[in-house]
């Protein structure tokens, strides 16, 4: 692989950009792989990457039914933070956030990580107490956050209205090293690095069946033929239930639509991410100047990658209260993704009832931020059979009642 650098840009400029090579190969599938990962979203690609990088396992294929990064990874609003309440969450999300800090150098691919800071607004007394508690928990977990008052909120984000008609801003949970990154670049950077290690990323290859022999996985059927494997990782977000059914078990996951939208580009007016969980909306400004907006999930089970318009209306209504100046903005695009929701709003990284099959799902509305940490843990889980990062996220926790309850800590999708 030719490395990207300032020198490479100059070199290519001089020869009319004739020397750029393809970022990843598109090989024909082999008959057998040591590990097959289903789903070339961020989590699948990161899982493959760390299998190669940390454990030297490179006879790996990543199978994708559409195009890589075309699922939720390419549809999210790119908020990165790690200010969770429970210890297992803080560990995996902070691992991820810290890997984001050096990801561009590690992958030799500019993922535009921008640690501009994230504020989660406290707009009820209950929320004030909740975020103060989270700030204390984060201090113990080694995650840098701070509870700030309304004046500081206004200083960090001058376009905010502290005196909302329904809910005044009473303070906020501030994570200065949270922020955003470019979602496509995260998928592309990992894909390029995986391909460079000799892994096969096979797009337009839908897994249609899972082969087993005596309770152990032996391979998969796909639209590009059958392939054998030693281990299988299911990393398909909203389609986790479908793949689990192929493997013969059930996951505590439901698939819902989550929508987002962006406005026309405007001049820089906001250089932090603001989440308003009580009124149900969040916003940041992209480098192009668009206001990037999201809210809560739609109410019913859905695989259409489309949501209902009234949810968009609710989100926008909430944000206009919080940021009155956006009331005249025109919206450019709106879209949806299918998110995989678990009962405790925490992910599942786990062995399964089928030997050799591992699952990484349940990231729901908030798994862009966790991509590198999840890949790191998943690779360790598959290579060694256990990982301190994933231990508490087993699918069996629902049976044991050992929930990692983040639903109260995170009232809104992000």
């Amino acid at each position: 692989m030719k490395r990207y650098s300032a020198f490479a840009i100059a070199r290519e400029a001089l020869r009319f950009h004739s020397g750029w090579e393809r970022a990843w190969r598109s090989p024909a599938p082999k008959k057998r792989y040591d590990v097959i990962i289903v789903g070339a979203g961020g989590h699948g690609l990161a899982s493959a990457y760390y299998l190669g990088k940390n454990f030297g396992i490179t006879n790996v294929a990543v199978l994708e039914k559409g195009w890589l990064g075309g699922g939720n990874t390419g549809r999210n609003t790119t908020i990165i933070r790690s200010n969770y309440l429970q210890d297992p969450s803080a560990a995996i999300y902070e691992k991820a956030r810290s890997l984001y800090e050096t990801m561009s150098q590690d992958l030799n691919y500019n993922v535009m990580f921008s640690p501009r800071g994230v504020i989660m607004l406290a707009q009820t007394h209950h929320e004030v107490r909740g975020y103060q508690r989270t700030a204390y928990a984060n201090a113990l977990q080694g995650v840098e956050t701070q509870f700030i008052g309304p004046d500081k909120v206004k200083e960090l984000c001058p376009i905010i209205s502290l005196e909302g008609p329904r809910y005044p801003v009473l303070g906020g949970l501030w994570q200065p090293r949270g922020g955003t990154a470019r979602h496509d670049a995260v998928a592309w950077g990992y894909a390029r690095a995986c391909s460079d290690m000799g892994m096969d990323i096979i797009q337009q290859c839908e897994v249609t069946g899972i082969r087993k022999d005596g309770g152990k996985v032996t391979g998969v059927d796909t639209t590009k033929g059958a392939m054998d494997c030693g281990q299988l990782g299911l990393v398909v977000a909203g389609h986790s239930g479908v793949l689990a059914e192929m493997a013969g078990f059930r996951l505590p996951v439901e698939s819902l639509a989550l929508q987002a939208l962006v406005s026309e580009p405007v001049k820089p007016c906001m250089d932090v991410v603001v989440m308003a969980n009580t009124v149900h909306g969040y916003m940041s400004q992209s480098d192009k100047g668009e206001m990037v907006i999201g809210g809560g999930t739609d109410g019913f089970n859905n695989y259409t990658q489309r949501g209902s318009f009234h949810h968009i209306e609710e989100t926008v209504r909430a944000l206009i209260e919080t940021f009155p100046m956006i009331s005249r903005l025109k919206m450019l695009r709106q879209w949806g993704g299918i998110v995989d929701m678990t009962g405790d709003r925490s992910p599942i990284l786990s062995k399964t009832p089928v030997e050799g099959v591992f699952v990484n799902c349940g990231w729901g509305t908030g798994g862009f931020k966790s991509i590198p940490g999840s890949g790191w843990g998943m690779a360790e889980l598959m290579a060694k059979g256990h990982s301190p990062l994933t231990e508490e996220f087993s699918m069996y926790r629902f049976r044991e009642g050992k929930f990692i309850d983040e639903s109260v800590a995170a009232g809104v999708a992000h």
């Binding site: 239930g241 996951v253 439901e254 698939s255 109410g299 019913f300 259409t304 009962g343 049976r399 044991e400």
Partner: protein
């Protein structure tokens, strides 16, 4: 916009008038049941990419709960029916199977 006919008041209600209540006809398991059954009842939903039978409430209307059969991939609705039954009635099953001959739902015959 999704629209469902409330089988109680007869109103063709759009989604903003309704609230979704999740999978229908769950078999309930209580404190004496096994951990597996209890987990299954609380968390393991069908979540099909296809026809889903589900509960709805006509919350901004007559207030009643009812049932619907709907495809999660196309949003096609195969009918709504009373909340007072423990399985989809025959006419609803026929409507579904006319389009999806292999459709199955848990242990329903």
């Amino acid at each position: 916009m999704l629209m469902l006919k409330c089988p109680y008041c007869g109103v063709m209600a759009d989604e903003t008038e309704l609230s979704a209540g999740g999978e229908a006809h769950l078999k309930r398991f209580g404190p004496q049941s096994s951990a597996e059954d209890f987990e299954g009842y609380l968390f393991a939903r069908e979540n099909p990419k296809g026809v889903h039978v589900e509960r709805w409430r006509h919350v901004n209307g007559c207030g009643k709960w009812f049932h619907a059969a709907r495809c999660t991939l196309t949003l096609e609705v195969f009918g709504t029916y009373s909340a007072q039954v423990t399985a989809p009635p025959q006419d609803i099953r026929d409507a579904i199977r006319a389009k999806h001959p292999d459709w199955r739902w848990r242990d329903m015959a």
